[in-house]
């Protein structure tokens, strides 16, 4: 193990380490702690210039209540849900099929198609922006949840296929050969043999894509406008102009907007990190 395990070091070294850790963490999360602090302060503190002192009263419930009751925030959160969940399902479905095809079969153009998916996943969004916006308008889906979902599914399929293909590649191939010898149809091999083995990969991808799509801002701005379809990342701008300079409310709003992926991460940590670090070890 590197660095040398702390247990092998001197007692004073161990104590220093234990003391440094929480200090480093607070420093690391300082901007976030500041916002959390803002979000429970009363408006009066800001008027009196008490930005960094102790809150004169705890107003967490009032502030967060206002976010939910006096703004479009619930609507934006709901939109984000309706955008994120279908995208996760669609992208995972398409890519597990494509990954199966690319990971199991040997055919001409296999590697070429695979690299096409990888390359497409890396392109700058801006080169897609004008045509995709135009296409969405022509299909009558501008400023709609469906328009955003269709694009997200298509784009995420690139990354997901890379992920799925490599995962399926690592499965024991004799299993599939055995099924073939038994005469199992190919689609049944996918459904009954490969898919059950892919459960960890499916979970990892679902959590990752949830986070990516929830946090998307660029496409939300390009393909939607207004509270009817905008997700929370884009809606927060409108929210902030509604509560201009009311830092306690803006802070509370930001925390609400950021919370769902954070909750997802802490609940599904193992899968999340497994997905993110795929390929970081050989």
């Amino acid at each position: 193990m590197f660095p040398t395990p702390i247990a092998k070091k001197s007692r004073s070294y161990q104590l220093t380490y234990q003391a440094v850790l929480p200090f480093a963490l607070i420093l690391w999360l300082l901007p976030l702690i500041a916002v959390a602090m803002f979000s429970i302060k009363p408006a009066a503190d800001f008027a009196n210039g008490n930005y960094w002192g102790w809150p004169s009263s705890f107003e967490g419930f009032t502030n967060y209540g206002k976010v939910f009751l006096e703004s479009n925030m619930p609507r934006y959160l709901l939109n984000s849900m309706f955008i994120t969940i279908p995208t996760v399902l669609g992208a995972v479905a398409l890519s597990s099929m494509a990954g199966f095809a690319l990971g199991i079969y040997k055919f001409k153009g296999n590697l070429f198609i695979f690299f096409m998916f990888i390359a497409g996943n890396f392109v700058p969004f801006q080169i897609l922006m004008v045509p995709v916006r135009d296409l969405t308008i022509n299909m009558g889906m501008y400023d709609s949840i469906q328009g955003l979902v269709l694009f997200h599914i298509a784009f995420q399929t690139g990354f997901c296929t890379l992920f799925m293909r490599n995962f399926i590649r690592a499965l024991p191939f004799p299993l599939i050969e055995a099924a073939r010898v038994e005469g199992v149809a190919e689609w049944r091999i996918f459904w009954y043999v490969v898919l059950p083995l892919m459960k960890p990969a499916l979970a990892a991808l679902a959590v990752l894509i949830f986070t990516f799509i929830w946090n998307d801002y660029f496409w939300a701005v390009v393909l939607t406008q207004g509270p009817s379809a905008q997700p929370v990342t884009a809606g927060i701008t409108e929210f902030n102009s509604q509560f201009r300079a009311a830092y306690h409310l803006m802070s509370a709003g930001s925390i609400v907007a950021a919370l769902p992926p954070v909750a997802m991460f802490f609940l599904m940590q193992k899968h999340f990190i497994a997905g993110l670090t795929l390929g970081a070890v050989k």
Binding site: W28, A98, F100, I104, G158, M264, T277
Partner: protein
């Protein structure tokens, strides 16, 4: 289900003969009785499985890349007719002929370079934190998650959080500087500092990402090699450089890929924190393209597409290199 042999290639027919010689059921093996699909099942299945993904990907990713190239040779407001103007957009952008280079483009390009170079600091910073946290003490798992979680927060919120952090009067940064007697600085209001302020905000989640990559990599380091090197007297930096880092190569590769791509994609933070200002000093190509195409001064889709094409070619250099090294690994695996 009735046992049936795999109906794909000639090899299988040989296989079928072997099987029938062993006295298995032969009736299902007569080739004429099987449908065309059954006979070609192995060749057809991959294409059927690929079809939906390829359709989506082609319509929304591959074809639009070509269309953007096409649009970049036109003048277009996004609604009316496109007017073909040849390479005029590029000439205006790069200042070919008797015109000057587009100043906004120039600023954006240099800012992109700053992003690229400074953003890569996330890689060593991530390694540093990973080395700090790669211990087994009580509660270390919680520490690892808490160090990582800025990455999970949306860039929009990161941008907001940092712009409040930098506020000249209310911001915590200036409150801390004040304790040390340093005067208040308005980072996002100062054209010479604003870009660096945004990059610092971007480094925060990116470092967390690199950290988690390295933590996973460190987990897989071969303990025997480390022990052997230790017996040979290697420690500290020497150990890190000659024994550990070579084993972390896959993690380093991915860290570089995601950081470079992230640097060139930077848009959210700039849009939220400064909206390109002050005086356009924080624009990067991706932001400038957006601004030209969907600005309130009218839609210049052709010109915007030309900027996107330039950005695409910059990115293509990196993508080409990434694909080449992945392809090399694929070949090695075969």
């Amino acid at each position: 289900m009735r046992p049936q042999l795999n109906p794909s290639a000639n090899r299988c027919m040989v296989f079928a003969c072997v099987k029938s010689a062993e006295g298995h059921d032969m009736s299902s093996l007569t080739p004429t009785s099987r449908s065309w699909y059954k006979r070609n099942e192995i060749a057809l299945t991959p294409w059927l499985f690929l079809f939906p993904a390829m359709l989506f990907f082609a319509v929304y990713v591959i074809i639009p890349i070509g269309q953007s190239f096409w649009i970049s040779f036109h003048q277009w407001d996004g609604l009316g007719e496109k007017t073909y103007i040849g390479t005029a957009n590029y000439e205006r952008l790069l200042g070919i002929g008797d015109q000057n280079i587009d100043r906004k483009f120039e600023t954006s390009f240099w800012n992109n370079l700053k992003w690229l170079v400074l953003y890569l600091l996330a890689v060593p910073a991530g390694l540093f934190i990973a080395l700090l946290l790669n211990q087994t003490v009580r509660g270390i798992r919680l520490y690892k998650s808490l160090f990582f979680f800025p990455f999970v927060i949306s860039q929009v919120v990161v941008g907001l959080v940092f712009s409040w952090f930098y506020l000249p009067r209310e911001g915590l940064l200036n409150a801390i500087l004040g304790v040390f007697g340093a005067g208040p600085v308005n980072i996002l209001g100062d054209p010479t500092l604003a870009t660096y302020g945004i990059i610092a905000a971007g480094l925060w989640p990116q470092t967390a990402y690199c950290m988690i990559l390295y933590l996973t990599g460190l987990n897989a380091v071969d303990p025997e090699q480390v022990e052997a090197a230790r017996l040979d007297g290697a420690k500290g930096y020497k150990m890190l450089w000659y024994i550990i880092l070579p084993q972390l190569k896959p993690a380093t590769f991915i860290a570089f890929v995601v950081t470079i791509i992230g640097a060139l994609r930077s848009f959210d933070l700039i849009s939220v924190m400064t909206n390109g200002g002050p005086f356009g000093s924080t624009r990067v190509l991706s932001f400038y393209m957006f601004e030209e195409s969907l600005s309130e001064f009218g839609f210049r889709m052709g010109y915007g597409s030309a900027i996107a094409v330039v950005l695409f070619f910059i990115m293509l250099g990196f993508i080409g290199y990434f694909l080449y090294s992945m392809w090399r690994d694929e070949k090695g695996a075969r």
